[in-house]
Every structure is written in C-alpha cells, then in structure tokens.
C-alpha cells in the first residue's frame, strides 16, 4: 500500500513539477547569501557587522586594513524522494572581495558574490512511441545547466567613530546560464539523438545602504537594505524577459558584553516574488524571511594562536517553490577562525548542515563547507 501511495505521489508530482532535480535549485537557482565563512558560522547573525560579508556596505569600515578575501564553498547534497535518492557535489566560489581603507574615515570595497547559483544536471529516461504505433523506445533526456547570476558591488563606507558607520553600494547583477539539452536514443542506426545548447544572460542593477550604530561598546545595531532595479534576461541577442531584482532589508543586533564572546542575531526579508515575471513555466517565487543567530567566542590557543569558535542556526525561505509549495531551509552552523601571519591573514572555516523541506515527500539535506581566506597585503 505504501509503495502504491509513493508511486501515485510520484506520478502526480512529476506530472506537475517544473523541477530541476533538487529543491534548492528551483527557478533561477540557489541564493548563497553573500556571507563570509565567519558570518555563516554564526548562522548569519554577525553578517551585517562583518566587513567580509556583502550584505551591508557600512560594515566595510570594520576591516581595519586593506584586505583581499576569497571564499570556496562546496556543497555536498543529498535529495530523497520516496525511496529514490541522489547525491551531488557542487563546487562554488561564492565570494571574492577587495577592501581598501582611504584615510581614517572612508573605506572602499569592490566585491563579487554569487547571487543565484543554478548548476545541475539531470537525466531522465522515458518510454516514447516513435515511428509505427507498435514501436516504442527509451529516450534519455539529459539536461545540464551551469552558471549563476552574480552580484558585483562597489561600496563606500564612512565612519567618524566606532559609534556610527554608514555605507552605500552600487550593484551590477550579471551572469549567465549555459544550458545543454539532449535527447538520446539507443539505436543510432534508426534514431537520431539531438542536442541543443544555449546561453541565457542576465543583467540588472541595484543600490544598497547600510548603517551601524553602537550606542555603547557592548551592543550594536545594524540596518541594511538593497533596492532592486530591473533585471533583464536575454537568449543570444533576444530579450526573453524582464523582472525586478528583489528588495532586501535586514536588521541585526550584536551583544559583546561578555568578555571574549559575541552574540548576534539577524532578521532579513527578501522580496523574491519580484522575479516571478521572469519565469516561463510559472515557477512560483516566494517572498521570505531569513532569520539567524549565533555566538562567536574566543576558544583555545593553538600553536600560539587564539582560535575563534562559532556556532549558530538559521531559518529561511528559499526563493523558488516546488510545485507551488514554499521550500524552507533550516541550518545549523559551526565554524572556526584562525589568525595567520601575525594577523596579516586569517582563515575562516564554517560548516552548515541544511535541511530543506516541502510538504511533498521530498527532502533535501546539504552540508556546505566554507573556506575563507583573508590576506592583508
């Protein structure tokens, strides 16, 4: 009976779905978040105060000295649907950033982060009548998409004192999805397999503003927002759609009243539904909240270096639904920070265990490792 139920559920879901092999890469893809490994380790709580995260331009001031930052974040994912499952490994380079203080009060930052990553490959075998009514053959549909929309930001931050910081950013969203679709037939003497390939290009603009306020040394508040402009999609020279980049607003608080400890929390809202008009298959986009918090504390001393330990949790709604249902992501995070070269460099590592769920009998679990390296030349 259970098998029958699963079979029926599978048939219903597959007949309606617009899916791409996993819950997290629906629609235009997975939002990596623009957070550094440090911020990811605290569930995103510290992101608005972190100079290496790209959510608030005001936080640039906190970098202190000129720095280059690079992050590598592979994800090991497992998707389960009924009794079937698939394991994937996605290598992402979601963040690269250069920060340059200009005098005592101003800091300039140029960065690029992955906004929506859409990399997947699926292979579906289906029975198809071809030729005479009695002839049928197994057709393999192979669908491969590689690419992402990236957020390139030029930001300027100002701070006269540690009490108040403000920053603005100008964003250019660009990127492409390389799509390859093949229909493969088994007998090349009878059938012709076909392959199509194309490239979807995206271009858009946005502007961001962030402020930080630390009324006392032990506590700080941050507000940030990004106002989305137009996002245009093209296939070759042909425009295929327009949408508004989603607005993003966030508020954070950090408490540093306990020596060696930093407790932070953040709540953000993304208007992902503004991207829905770009969809050609009515993939539903959901506005959603992104809430997280964590603790960062001074850990043990290793090789004469103080290790920073981090732990956190995060809940958010992913932008694109599955079969019209909202996809939620719950993550537990942890990480470490390690100063190197007498603090002229720093290594951050974070691990996230993310569970993504919908009401349907589909589950997704991902382990995201983030390796961040900061160098101050």
């Amino acid at each position: 009976m259970r098998k029958l139920f699963i079979a029926v559920a599978v048939a219903v879901v597959s007949s309606r779905g617009g899916a791409q092999g996993a819950l997290s890469i629906q629609g235009l893809g997975y939002p990596t978040g623009g957070m550094s490994a440090r911020a990811e380790g605290t569930g995103g709580g510290v992101a608005d105060f972190d100079a290496l995260s790209l959510v608030s331009p005001a936080s640039l001031v906190a970098v202190g000295s000129a720095a280059l930052f690079f992050q590598y974040s592979p994800e090991f994912r497992r998707v389960t649907a009924g009794s079937a499952s698939a394991k994937t490994t996605t290598a992402r380079f979601p963040l690269v950033e250069g920060v340059l203080p200009m005098g005592q009060q101003w800091t300039l930052g140029l960065s690029s982060s992955t906004f929506l990553d859409r990399s997947f490959e699926t292979s579906l075998v289906r029975r198809q009548a071809v030729g005479a009514t009695t002839d049928s053959v197994d057709v393999t549909e192979r669908n491969k998409v590689l690419g992402a929309i990236n957020d390139v930001r030029l930001a300027l931050a100002w701070a006269r004192s540690p009490v108040f910081r403000i920053g603005v950013g100008a964003h250019v969203f660009s990127g492409s999805n390389r799509i390859t679709f093949a229909q493969l037939f088994p007998d090349s003497t009878k059938y012709i397999s076909s392959e199509q390939s194309g490239r979807l290009s995206f271009a858009g603009f946005a502007a961001s503003l962030g402020v930080e306020y630390h009324p006392v040394r032990a506590i700080g508040f941050a507000l940030s927002g990004r106002k989305g402009g137009d996002l245009r999609a093209q296939s070759g020279d042909t425009a295929i759609g327009n949408a508004k980049l989603p607005d993003h607003y966030a508020g954070s608080v950090v408490y540093e009243g306990i020596p060696g400890t930093s407790i932070s929390a953040r709540v953000a809202h993304d208007s992902w539904s503004s991207l829905a008009s770009l969809s050609s298959s009515n993939t539903k986009a959901f506005d959603g909240w992104d809430m997280g918090g964590g603790v960062e504390l001074t850990g043990p001393r290793l090789l004469q270096r103080i290790v920073i330990l981090r732990v956190g949790a995060r809940v958010r709604t992913l932008p694109f639904g599955f079969n019209g249902e909202r996809v939620s992501e719950r993550s537990f995070t942890g990480g470490i920070g390690l100063p190197l070269a007498r603090d002229r460099a720093g290594f951050d590592f974070a691990i996230q265990h993310a569970n993504r769920t919908v009401k349907a009998d589909v589950k997704e679990r991902g382990f995201i490792l983030s390796f961040g390296l900061r160098v101050s030349p």
Binding site: A19, Q20, A86, T189, Y191, Q196
Partner: protein, 420 residues
C-alpha cells in the same frame, strides 16, 4: 587553554581532504528524476507522407558492360545460363631462360588459367564440366549474340570436369599447350569463353579484374623447371580508342539466358547486371528545417521475385545522393552517393509486403543543406552489388496508392531554452 598541535593538524588534514574531495564536482541529480525532473522535450509526432516521392526509377548500377566485380559461370536449367569471357589479347613472344639470353618462344608447357573462386557461394553438387571455347571474333565487342554464337563444337578448345571437392579457392583450368602456342606464333588473340554444365543446377562465382582478383594465364616457355613460368594478365585491345571500355572487357560475364527483367513499373535492386533504385523526395521544409527529426523510415512494398533463390538473403543498403541539381541523369546521380545510414535491410527475393528502410541520418544532412544544393534523394543498392545475381523488387510510385513508397517521419519540436 593550550591544545597540542596534533588535533590541529588532524583537523587541517581533514579540511584539506574535504576541499580536494569537493573539487570533483558531481551535479547529476538523476537518482530522483522520477519525481523532480518532468520531461522537458515534447512528445514525438509522427506523420506519413504518401505523395512524397517525386521520382523513383531503376538504373544500371555500374558504369558499363563488364564492370562487375565478379564473373558468374552458371547453368541453372531454364532460369539462368551465364558464360565467362576472358581476353588475353597480348601474349608474350619471347622469354628469358634461366641463365640465358632472351629467346623467341618455341614451345608452351603447362598452360592454365588461374581462377579465384568463391567457394562459399557455389551452387550444385557437381561434377562440373567446364568447356572452353575460342570466342575471338571481329564482331562488335558488346554483342552478346555474336559471342554466344561462338560457343559451338568447332570452337571448343578443351573441356575439363571438376568434382565439387576439386573446387578450391584457386582453380587451375588447363588449356591445350598447342592452342596457346598457336596464338603466340600467329600473333592472334587468345579469347576464352567458359561454359559450365552439370547434372544439376550449378553456379560458380569467379573473381574478376574489377574485383581485384584477376584471372591469370600461366605457362612455361620451356620444359626446364628452372625457368620461371610466364604470367599473362587479361587484356582487351578492343574497342580501339576506348581504354576504359576495353579494360572492362578484359574479363566479363554474358547472360545467355536469364530471368525476365522486372516490369518497368517496378523498382529493382540487385540482379545481373546489377541495378540500383534512385528515389527523390519532396519533403516539406517545415519538417526538415523547423523540427528535430528523430526517426525517418521509407516504407516500401516488396514484390516477390521467386525465380532465382527466393529464400537467399540480400542486404539492401540505402545511400544518400550527393549529386547536385545539375546532375539530372538519375543513373549518374546514383554514382555520386555515399553511405551515411549505417544500416542495411535484410530481405529475401521471394519475400513480400512492407519493408522499412531507416533514413534518419539522411535527414540530419538535409537539415543542414538546402534542396537546391542537395536534392532530397537516396539510392537503394545491394550490399553485395555485382557479386550476387539476386534481385529484389518493390512497388513504385506508379503503383496503387496503398503500395507506393511512403515516408514515415517522427519528429519533435525544438525545446525553447528559457528561464525556468
């Protein structure tokens, strides 16, 4: 608090291992595709085009008389009687004995024609009597009647009998030494006509010059075995001034009696001399240009041809015609063709009913070329063309509509690659 470096090193090693492991990207989610991957491609549509053939005709497969890659020596009762002609129009007049100077040929010893035989296709249990006739004549080179008239007793050179077991891959057919010496000394042609007879139906396939297995005349000009035998290749010196035609006539087959030819309204593939079928189609550009053809099948109605080996198998090979529009002669167009289909059709001469010839690969070529530069035409030929006497027949576009050649095309529309 201080920790030893061992946990740190272990942790660092683990991170490096994970980082390296993740470099090998695997994006394949196929395991859950039954649920998460609905079909992207559209349904395959199938149409049958009835009046698609604009020209279908049977043409000669080879470029001239005697161009076949095999020689057939057959005596099959009232059905088939074929003879083999081998011309040695140039015989050596001198030879060089071992350790001596060149001398005129005064004697001939151990003269024979070496024939390469396809032992797998021999029909009949034997014994096989092979008669050799002098078929040298001043008559027109391609006059079958004139040559057949020379197969008479006063022209008989020799006769030999072979048991079935004697027919090996290489057969020595001995000629009278005097007959060869006479041609050498008189400077005349040695043209030999071979005819087989047997108690039962018989057929022997012999290699020809066009097939790369040339019959040879060998003899010794001296009984001294230390002197190498002389080897003479077939050569025809007539018709004068037409070297290609003469080349074909160095060895060839003539049909004294054969099955009746296919009616003009039928399409015939194979046989002897071999035939091909040329077919040109009118296919809507909406199918070729705007869709993705995944399968195309030519539906043919086979007509039984039971006269000769009706249950023997024949493989038919479709080819794509690459001759442009300027080549208006179908016979010539069939010579400018290439195998692209990669599949053959197995049929039997006595078979009948619908036969399917797969043509999908032709459509992929036609998709990239305009009909002005590449007419939508194919050739049907036998895989063993010229090496088999069997003929397959099909209904043509002149037959009743239900029997005419048709095209069944299965296609899908191109998938728009869009934002999901």
């Amino acid at each position: 608090m201080k920790l030893s470096s061992l946990p740190l090193r272990s942790f660092a090693c683990a991170l490096v291992f994970l980082a390296v492991l993740s470099c090998s990207e695997n994006l394949d989610n196929s395991g859950v595709c039954a649920v998460l991957c609905p079909p992207v491609g559209g349904e395959v549509q199938t149409v049958i085009l009835d009046a698609t053939v604009t020209l279908d005709t049977t043409v000669q497969a080879l470029s001239g008389f005697g161009a076949e890659p095999s020689l057939f020596l057959a005596s099959r009762g009232d059905t088939l009687d074929t003879r083999v002609i081998i011309r040695f129009d140039s015989l050596p007049a001198t030879f060089a004995p071992a350790g001596d100077t060149v001398q005129p040929i005064q004697s001939v010893d151990s003269a024979y024609i070496r024939l390469e035989i396809d032992t797998l296709t021999i029909k009949g249990a034997g014994p096989f009597t092979i008669d050799a006739y002098d078929v040298d004549t001043q008559a027109h080179d391609t006059s079958t009647a004139a040559i057949l008239a020379l197969f008479r007793p006063d022209r008989l050179i020799t006769s030999q009998v072979f048991a079935r077991a004697d027919l090996k891959d290489t057969l020595r057919y001995y000629l009278p030494n005097a007959a060869v010496l006479n041609r050498i000394q008189t400077g005349t042609h040695l043209r030999v006509g071979l005819q087989v007879s047997a108690p039962t139906s018989s057929q022997i396939r012999i290699g020809s010059a066009e097939g790369g297995v040339t019959p040879l005349l060998l003899f010794r000009a001296t009984p001294d075995t230390a002197t190498k035998p002389l080897t003479v290749f077939p050569l025809s010196t007539t018709p004068a001034g037409e070297p290609i035609v003469a080349s074909h006539l160095s060895d060839y087959t003539i049909v004294a009696k054969g099955p009746p030819p296919a009616p003009p309204s039928d399409l015939a593939v194979g046989g002897f001399p071999p035939h091909r079928v040329y077919m040109r189609f009118d296919i809507p550009s909406s199918i070729i240009d705007s869709t993705t053809v995944v399968r195309a099948t030519l539906l043919l109605n086979q007509l039984p041809n039971p006269l000769l080996d009706p249950t023997d198998s024949v493989l038919i090979l479709p080819q794509l015609v690459f001759a442009g529009k300027v080549v208006t002669d179908p016979a010539k167009a069939t010579q400018i063709a290439s195998e692209i289909v990669g599949d053959t059709l197995l049929v039997f001469p006595g078979g009948s009913g619908e036969k399917n010839v797969e043509l999908a690969r032709a459509f992929s070529v036609w998709h990239s070329e305009s009909p002005d530069s590449l007419p939508r035409a194919i050739v049907l030929k036998t895989l063993n063309e010229g090496n088999s006497l069997l003929e397959i027949r099909f209904s043509s576009s002149e037959d009743a509509s239900s029997l005419r050649p048709r095209l069944r095309i299965s296609y899908t529309s191109r998938v728009p690659l869009r934002v999901p």
